[in-house]
Amino acid sequence: MSSQWAFLAMGIPFFTALIMGSVGYAAPRFMRWIGATGITLAVFASIGLWSTVSTDEYVSYFFGGWLPPIGIALEVDRISALMVLMVHGVAALAYIFSLKALPNELPASKHPVYYTLYFLLISGFVALAVTGDVFNVYVLFEVCALSGYALLAMGGKKAYVPTFNYVLMGSLGACFYLIGVGYLFIKTGTLNMAHLADVLPTVFFSRSILTAFILITVGLFVKMALFPFHGWMPNVYTKAPVSTLCLMAPLGTKICVYVLLRVVGYVFSMEYMTNILAVQPIMMTLATLAIVVGTLYVVYHRHLTRIIMFIIVSEIGYMVGGIFLGQMDSVIGAVYHIAADALMTVTLVMVAGVVRHCLGGDAIADVAMMFRRLPTTAIAFVIVCLSVIGVPPMPGFFSKFLLIKGAFMSGYYGFAVALLIASLTAVFLFFRFFEGYFYMKTDNTAPSVIQEPWAYRIPLVVAAIGLVGFGLSFSYWYGFIKLALPLGLA
């Protein structure tokens, strides 16, 4: 049974998508219950998977019983289990949120299509986390991307052009990745990750492998919107429906970072990256630049949704930097941050969505009104801001702590400084909102408190509590992640 969890975690949302597609038109009334059942079961599956890897450390599932390298395998270690948990957790929050948010944005006739794609996207994300095959990664990228494009384009006519650009960029990134996989296949004749990791060291010095490494990393960078490939992301996300954003913004880029870790850390191995290629300085420069540039844009923009997008750009820099630092602690920090940041981003996006729907805009002044009119949202916002800033004991603090420590140990002081600058900016960003409220001219016609609908309030509260809990349970996660790290880390 235990190995089935891996399949279930992926399969449940997939079949939910199919059922949605067929039942949705016939009986729209049942739709939200089907979705709720699907997402609940999926969360259970991911918890099952998590508890299994807690004891067994490793779960493999072979489709049709074919063993690799011939068959297709799902391979779940602790890190992927954490990712699955993250995807389903965030998806559950986003789903509840969308129940209320979606009717505000799309006519009911489109809901069946929307939810079909929605669950397809979720299953794509999960599959990315558990797959053990480099070619499957490509296919799943496209599964995610295709359903994602469609979901984003539902944002209306403003969303068309950015989404079109995203289609081009996303396909380009995926194609680069695919060519890279081709080079790997030429040299090794296998596509299975574990098998590749065994074979690759014998051909480390081949030029094909170098080419493969470059193409794969560049392709992934485009997909995850690492600076300077980030151009497509802010535009397309800000125009999308909020309910799509809740799913895409936290997970879309994060899961690519996870794939990067898989490919760099497990397939190519850290040793190849640091000692043979010596690309670490370049990668660290990129990561540092991503943080700095993202931070600068954050200061420059005045709309919450846009600000969130550039926070994501700089957070991607954190994680990529953490992976390429190649220290044990920094990689743990990066993995931890993937999950922490997913939770933070989903909360921020939900806050932005609530503010947009209830107060009619997401400029700084509107957001500031939130402190007076939407108390629950405001509390969630404060908590997530503390985490973005990195105030202990929020999760943002610990990942930053580990990353900075790693940067010190390996001598990349620039990266440490960039992290600190990002924190400082986050402080001022938050206080810009807070000041907007605190010094607001009070007039007598002060509007009253708005009670958020339950579909908004529940996910917000759960996400905020989850953030605090995730931070407080840090020592558990530290030990949990540590056992699944790639070899060769100091």
Partner: protein, 467 residues
């Protein structure tokens, strides 16, 4: 002991207005006394994150002294705030009291922190809670002051103290305070100097120049805030953090070995002189007090940084003495403002005759800050000056003397004005309200009592140094 800890965290954060604050203050003082009686040096881990990183508390004489000062003055301040806020017709009182209570809770947290991380957490909590207090008036002036406050404090703590803390962790693998010091002796000298400077400026609440500018800016806050937070809790937390870092992270052995004192002492000495000179030119009473505070804080750091038994005792003692002295002065400034709306030194002619109790307290407070008997300030300064000689820093000895002279120069004229000059106009001004007058008198009396009671505290502190 854990039970007593619980009291801090829960009781020190009431949401209600003044009364519950008073109750909580009394409970807090009682539990600190309780701790004093049964205090053990146990470390209590609340949450452990990973090896060497946890939220944990412990209790030693240093934390007890600090907690005692902060909690007892809190009680008095609450009384005073009631008088002041009603007298000055301030708005949003519940928020005010809640924030003060949270700030005090954070201060207690700092006092009992057993490692740098815990200290840092509560340090940040304090910054956040006092932000709302500094900006209490919610006008443009408050906005500027509060923004400056934030920039300096967070800039320091995130930009300097946090990386320094992480560097310490990377070097040693732990952050727990230990009087033996935790940094290995082989650490290269430049690294030590850089770390030390990062800590000194990183805890910007201590107001070392040039990271001092937030303090005068924060004087836009209502006076009870200025007095409690900016004479006692906030700035002393900064100093206390630095003391903890010097004694608990670096350790006196290491500091003496590589002669790190020089770095600390000269930075502080510069601040002492410059701040005292600047205080001379301030006409706003509260700003003058603020600059005086900056100078006095640097005294403490200087004393602790000298790294001799005498100077250490003097430095820690000065935390206590200066707290009582300075809070008296702030209370008086506030009382004057409530009664007369006067904010400037030049307006104070003859006010001593109308408000004899207030100005009498002011006189005693300034004696204590200058360091003249029969007030507590004399004793702490005596120890520090002797410590400077003992450590072989004649320059610092001179600095102490010069700055004491300067202190006298900027305080005594106020007293002179108040009592001996004839006022320009004879307003009908009287002492009022009662709750604004009694607290400064109490604290002034405490300054005198501490002169007598100092040996008790000195014994406690010596216990730290030798224990």
């Amino acid at each position: 002991m854990i039970g007593a800890m619980g009291i801090y965290v829960t009781r020190s954060k009431p949401n209600g207005p003044a009364i519950s604050s008073v109750v909580a203050a009394i409970a807090l003082v009682a539990s600190v006394i309780h701790l004093m009686a049964y205090g053990a040096r146990d470390v209590v881990d609340v949450v452990s994150f990973f090896p060497g990183i946890s939220v944990s508390f412990f209790c030693d004489p240093l934390s007890l002294i600090f907690a005692m000062v902060a909690s007892s003055l809190w009680g008095i301040t609450v009384l005073y705030s009631v008088g002041y806020l009603n007298g000055a017709h301030e708005k949003n009182q519940p928020r005010f009291f809640a924030c003060v209570a949270i700030a005090l809770g954070a201060t207690m947290g700092v006092a009992f922190s057993a490692n740098l991380l815990t200290l840092y957490i509560f340090y940040e909590m304090l910054s956040l809670s006092t932000y709302a207090l500094v900006g209490h008036h919610q006008n443009d002036e408050a906005r500027v002051g509060a923004r400056k406050y934030l920039i300096y404090l967070f800039g320091g703590s995130i930009g300097l103290a946090l990386p320094a803390m992480i560097a310490v962790y990377a070097l040693t693998g732990t952050l727990s305070f230990s009087y033996a010091g935790i940094l290995p002796e082989v650490t290269p000298f430049p690294v030590l100097v850089v770390l030390m400077i990062m800590f000194l400026y990183g805890f910007a609440k201590a107001g070392l120049m040039p990271f001092h500018a937030w303090l005068p800016g924060a004087m836009v806050a209502p006076t009870p805030v200025s007095s409690l937070l900016h004479a006692v809790a906030v700035v002393k937390v900064g100093v206390f953090s630095i003391v903890r870092v010097i004694t608990g992270i670096f350790g006196y052995d290491l500091i003496n070995q590589v002669n790190l004192s020089q770095v600390i002492v000269y930075i502080a000495a510069f601040t002492v002189i410059v701040a005292s000179l600047m205080a001379l030119y301030q006409d706003s009473l509260k700003r003058r007090l603020a600059f005086s505070t900056i100078g006095q804080l640097a005294y403490i750091i200087m004393g602790v940084g000298l790294a001799t038994p005498m100077a250490f005792v003097g430095g820690v003692l000065h935390i206590v003495m200066h707290a009582f002295g300075k809070i008296t002065l702030f209370f008086c400034a506030g009382a004057i403002y409530v009664a007369t709306k006067k904010k400037y030194v030049s307006q104070l002619d003859g006010i001593g005759r109308q408000m004899p109790w207030t100005m009498g307290a002011f006189f005693i407070g300034s004696l204590s800050v200058i360091g003249l008997p029969p007030t507590g300030g004399f004793i702490s300064k005596w120890f520090m000056v002797n410590g400077a000689l003992e450590a072989g820093f004649p320059v610092i000895f001179t600095v102490y003397l010069i700055s004491s002279f300067l202190n006298a120069c900027y305080f005594l004229p106020i007293v002179y004005r108040a009592f001996f000059k004839n006022p320009a106009t004879m307003d009908d001004v009287a002492e009022r309200p009662l709750l604004c007058v009694v607290p400064p008198v109490i604290t002034a009396a405490m300054s005198v009592v501490l002169f007598v009671g100092a040996p008790f505290i000195i014994r406690l502190i010596q216990g730290i140094y030798y224990g």
